[in-house]
């Protein structure tokens, strides 16, 4: 689970690999390393960030090499476990992204055959297998070695004295950047955009041999031709433009993201996706699948659609759905994945496709694997998100869900007009939340002193409480839990007290009254209460210890403004605690392992 890169050409490989790796750090950054080959292979790696490694690297001449930035799965982050991994001779070197399921068995066999293992990683079996099968031709050795392997992988292999890179993929992303008298390999497009805009996407089971001047791809022992895509976007010079962290920059981009996303939909003047079949055939079943933050968007989507369509909507975590054989729906499935590469989501889509389900994918990356295998794609126009903690992509997903639902809403035309008007007003409302930073920052200062925090909400704001808790634990490392407010009395009350603050999200809908009761219950246990509430709600300001007001919006849109408040709250709390906000420990941006 990681970022991998490779280079072969005329330039010195080291600077190319390092700059490519630095653009892949969002995929993992607990350790990194590079290997450069000439007449022998030189490897340098450590459990440090790319920037740090760059400073300590010795001169490593050579025009062919591979690199890796790691997010540990098998074996703790350490110098030994960092990639690239070599064989016994030190002539072969491998970088790998994925998980090898049968590596214990393979390792035992190889050890029995006399191979010496250095690391605890699953990857090392690949280099030893290639060594085992090597009889003068690297790609044949890799092809045979992969027969033995059960699992997911994207790999780049090189060997001293063979001027080529051998690549292969299965269930992990890998692309080839096509250059002039040079070629590139990477897990993701941004890594190579400084050098070329021509890209070949490898498919599962492809094995490629890349030299300075050629790219040959084989699949099941037959040559295949893969299309070269022209990437139209430029290298977005990832600069913080005045901000201290990407996360705050991305939070502040949200009014624009909302405008861009709905602007695209409104101008299309037609439903963004066809839900007719599932709604008209009476099957009326909708399933929404997602993971992580996207799952919270899915839960909000459930409330939106159930409210507007009056049909039952099911939500599932993609990772659970894959293993427990839950029945797919006969209606419509919506899969939400920011990167379009999340392993759990991809696996779920493949399974659904096998069962002949229609799949709509909501993704922020056009051309991603998910968008290529879905029946229909709804693009969110959030732009590249660099901070590991998702913010603007979440809001853009909500916009996609609103716009997906509105054309089919079973409400009268006046109400629909009001909803569309409400949607148009959202950028301004979010801007007001952003401008109210002092109140949020003050609450964050208080929150930063505690070790446990509860977030409570009801109805459509229950998932917002989950998202608020996720953001807080993700970047500030404070233990936080999101609860439906009515569930507190079924257990968590035992934990409440003066040192467990509660963040309560109150919407102006039919849950407002009962939320007040819930807050009184919490207050009775002496927990400090921070209330997130619409303006002019005086009953709350008497009850809560601190109040963060948000502009009035229709209850169906309240998750948008409330989430932005909680994003800011998490950000400033992490800042008061001095956390590394854009790169929280143990996390990576898009998770391409299960």
């Amino acid at each position: 689970m990681c970022g991998i890169v490779g280079y072969i050409g005329e330039r010195q490989a080291k600077p190319v690999l390092m700059s490519s790796l630095s653009r892949l750090e969002y995929r993992g950054y607990d350790s990194c390393g590079i290997a450069i080959a000439g007449s022998h292979v030189e490897v340098y790696k450590d459990a440090v960030r790319v920037k740090v490694l760059e400073k300590v690297l010795p001169p490593m001449p050579g025009t062919m090499g591979i690199g890796h930035t790691r997010w540990a799965t098998h074996g703790e982050p350490s110098q030994v476990n960092a990639h690239p991994h070599g064989d016994c001779t030190g002539e072969i070197s491998v970088v790998h992204n994925g998980v090898i399921n049968n590596f214990q068995k393979l390792k035992q066999q190889l050890v029995a055959e006399g191979h010496k293992f250095i690391s605890e990683t699953d990857t090392e079996v690949i280099s030893h297998l290639v060594e085992k099968y090597y009889v003068g031709n690297l790609e044949e050795a890799v092809t045979v070695a992969l027969h033995d392997i059960d699992g997911s992988y994207a790999i780049v292999v090189l060997k001293a004295d063979e001027p080529k890179l051998v690549v292969a993929r299965k269930d992990s992303p890998l692309i080839i950047g096509v250059g002039d008298r040079e070629n590139f390999v990477a897990s993701d497009v941004p890594a190579i955009l400084d050098y070329t805009s021509r890209v070949i996407y490898l498919e599962d089971d492809d094995i490629g041999v890349i030299t300075r001047d050629s790219i040959n791809i084989r699949r099941h022992n037959a040559d295949v031709k893969r299309k070269t895509h022209q990437i139209s976007w430029n290298v977005e010079d990832a600069q913080k433009a005045g901000y201290e962290h990407f996360m705050l920059k991305e939070i502040h981009e949200q009014p624009k993201v909302i405008r861009d996303t709905i602007g695209g939909y409104i101008s299309a003047a037609e439903p963004v996706a066809d839900l007719t079949k599932s709604l008209d055939t009476g099957l009326g079943e909708i399933l929404i699948l997602a993971s992580g933050t996207s799952y919270h968007a899915a839960l909000i989507g459930k409330y939106i659609m159930e409210d507007l369509f009056k049909v039952a909507v099911r939500t599932e975590l993609a990772s659970e759905f894959n293993y427990y054989g839950q029945s797919p729906v006969r209606g419509q499935t919506i899969v939400i994945t920011q990167s379009g590469e999340t392993a759990d989501a991809l696996k779920a889509i493949k399974r659904l496709k096998e069962e002949n389900c229609r799949v709509i994918v909501i993704t922020n990356v056009p051309g991603s694997t998910a968008s290529r295998i879905a029946d229909q794609v709804v693009d969110t126009r959030a732009g590249p998100e660099i901070s590991v903690a998702a913010t603007k992509s979440f809001i853009a997903q909500l916009m996609a869900l609103y716009w997906l639902a509105l054309p089919y809403a079973k409400v009268d035309i006046r109400k629909l007009d009001n909803l569309i008007m409400g949607l148009r007003q959202l950028p301004g409302k979010v801007q007001r939340v952003l401008d109210n930073v002092n109140a949020v920052s003050e609450c964050a200062r208080q929150l930063s002193k505690y070790n446990d925090v509860f977030f409570i909400g009801r109805g459509i704001n229950f998932p917002v409480a989950l998202e608020g808790a996720l953001k807080l634990k993700e970047i500030s490392y404070i233990h936080a839990e999101g609860y439906a407010a009515g569930e507190l009395k079924h257990g968590p009350f035992a934990l409440l007290g003066a040192d467990t603050p509660v963040v309560a999200i109150i919407a102006q809908d039919n849950t407002a009254e009962v939320m007040l009761t819930n807050i009184k219950e919490v207050k009775a246990r002496r927990s400090p209460v921070i209330a997130v509430v619409g303006e002019d709600n005086e009953a709350i300001s008497e009850l809560a210890d601190s109040v963060i007001t948000v502009p009035q919006v229709d209850a169906i849109f309240s998750p948008v403004v409330n989430t932005v408040v909680l994003q800011l709250l998490a950000y400033y709390t992490a800042k008061y605690r001095g956390c590394p906000i854009d790169f929280p420990r143990n996390l990576a941006k898009s998770v391409t392992v299960e």
Binding site: D180, R181, D194, Y195, T196, S197, R198, Q230, V235
Partner: protein, 400 residues
């Protein structure tokens, strides 16, 4: 001797025509600008070429390939970011050996000048006398040497312009590596030459007789006219009865000219076109491959790019039509102001009294659409029946 041709730029003043192609791939007389230059370079005896590409490089690569069609060898170097001419030349460092020529792919110079400049010793640049110095870098000469190069200044001390056309020695790469970023954030080759002069390396010059420098879309029409003047009568297509052909008209293969068509050269018609019946094609018109010119259509002094259709009752003059356009029956383009003054387009005085429209790729119009003088229409725009289009219309718009 090798020649490095800079072909990486977008040419943003050529928008919307450069939305989907680099400036060097804009067609003149049915060939990209770059091909016209290539022909001259080859005629001057240079067979090894390096194209520095960037913006929409796939267009250049697909069209020219390895140069087999022209019997030369073309290598490519990618300039990923537009960081100036010096940076572009640096991209070719590994591909040249010894001295080499450098020229801008969007300026056409003729074979004699290329040969003469190539015959100089050491480093040299091409210069040209101009009347209007705006937007050009000027040079100061003394005793057969260049003593100073001025970047685009308001009141330059001479009317001798740098033609962006060089013979260079490998010394240049050392100078490039020491070139600082210019105020506009790019590495300029003129600064690198300045560094060489400061180090006592002489820069010679050759005064060139003629060039075609293209800045705005309407400059294409002037250049097109100039290049079409050399058209020779040639017919590879099928011509029906009662077609009138006067002057130099070139007709590509698989093209049909139907009865009653009246064509006055110089006119160039590409391959696979369907022309007529009963149309009137007037001088200085270049019609690319796969176009349809239908009945009762009059075309004059135009560049019509591939696969566009002017099928019924159209008038279009002094205009450029992008690829894959379809003009509805009766759509007409005005090309002369009622007050006969010079036409403005996109906020710029074109200096032309007669100018029609600049139409991007994939534009579709309904029946009886009127397009006013100097209109610039973005790619993929739809104009509804009977509508009047004028001014600047953004890509993907709908005007009814």
């Amino acid at each position: 001797m090798k020649a490095v041709i800079l072909a990486a730029g977008e040419g943003n003043r050529m928008r919307p025509l450069t939305r989907t192609r680099p400036k060097v791939m804009l067609p003149l007389a049915n060939k990209p600008i770059l091909e016209h230059l290539l022909v001259e370079v080859i005629a001057a005896g240079i067979k090894e070429l390096i194209f520095v590409v960037g913006y929409h490089d796939e267009q250049v690569r697909d069209y020219f390939g390895g140069g087999e069609k022209w019997g030369v060898n073309i290598a490519y170097a990618n300039q990923r970011k537009q960081l100036g001419t010096a940076d572009a030349i640096r991209m070719s460092e590994n591909l040249v050996d010894g001295h080499f020529m450098v020229m801008n792919g969007d300026v056409i110079v003729n074979r004699k000048d290329i040969r003469k400049l190539a015959a100089k010793r050491g480093n040299a640049l091409g210069i040209i006398e101009v009347k209007d110095t705006t937007g050009l870098g000027m040079v100061e000469l003394k005793k057969g040497k260049v003593v100073h190069i001025y970047e685009k200044e308001k009141n330059p001390p001479s009317t001798t312009a740098n033609a962006g056309f060089y013979r260079l020695t490998p010394d240049i790469f050392q100078a490039i590596s020491r070139t600082p970023v210019s105020p506009r954030g790019e590495y300029e080759i003129t600064d690198s030459l300045g560094i060489m002069m400061d180090n006592g390396i002489d820069i010679a010059y050759h005064k060139i007789s003629h060039w075609i420098d293209l800045s705005y879309p309407w400059d294409l029409l002037t250049a097109n006219e100039w290049l079409l003047a050399a058209t020779r009568l040639k017919n590879l297509g099928a011509i029906e009865e009662n077609v009138v052909i006067k002057g130099a008209v070139s007709i590509g293969k698989n093209t049909t000219i139907r009865s009653g068509s009246y064509i006055v050269g110089p006119v160039m018609i590409g391959e696979g076109c369907d022309i007529g019946p009963n149309c009137y094609i007037r001088p200085f018109t270049a019609i690319a491959d796969g176009c349809r010119i239908g009945g009762a259509v009059e075309v004059k002094n135009c560049i019509i790019m591939r696969n566009s259709k002017l099928p019924h009752h159209n008038y279009i003059g002094d205009s450029i039509v992008g690829e894959g356009c379809n003009l509805g029956a009766g759509t007409k383009v005005a090309n002369l102001r009622l007050d006969k003054k010079e036409v403005w387009a996109n906020g710029v005085n074109t200096g032309k009294r007669k100018l029609g429209a600049i139409i991007g790729d994939g534009v579709e119009t309904g029946i009886n659409v009127c397009i006013n003088v100097g209109t610039v229409i973005g790619n993929g725009t739809l104009i509804g029946p009977g509508a009047v289009a004028s001014g600047v219309i953004l890509p993907g718009s709908q005007v009814f």
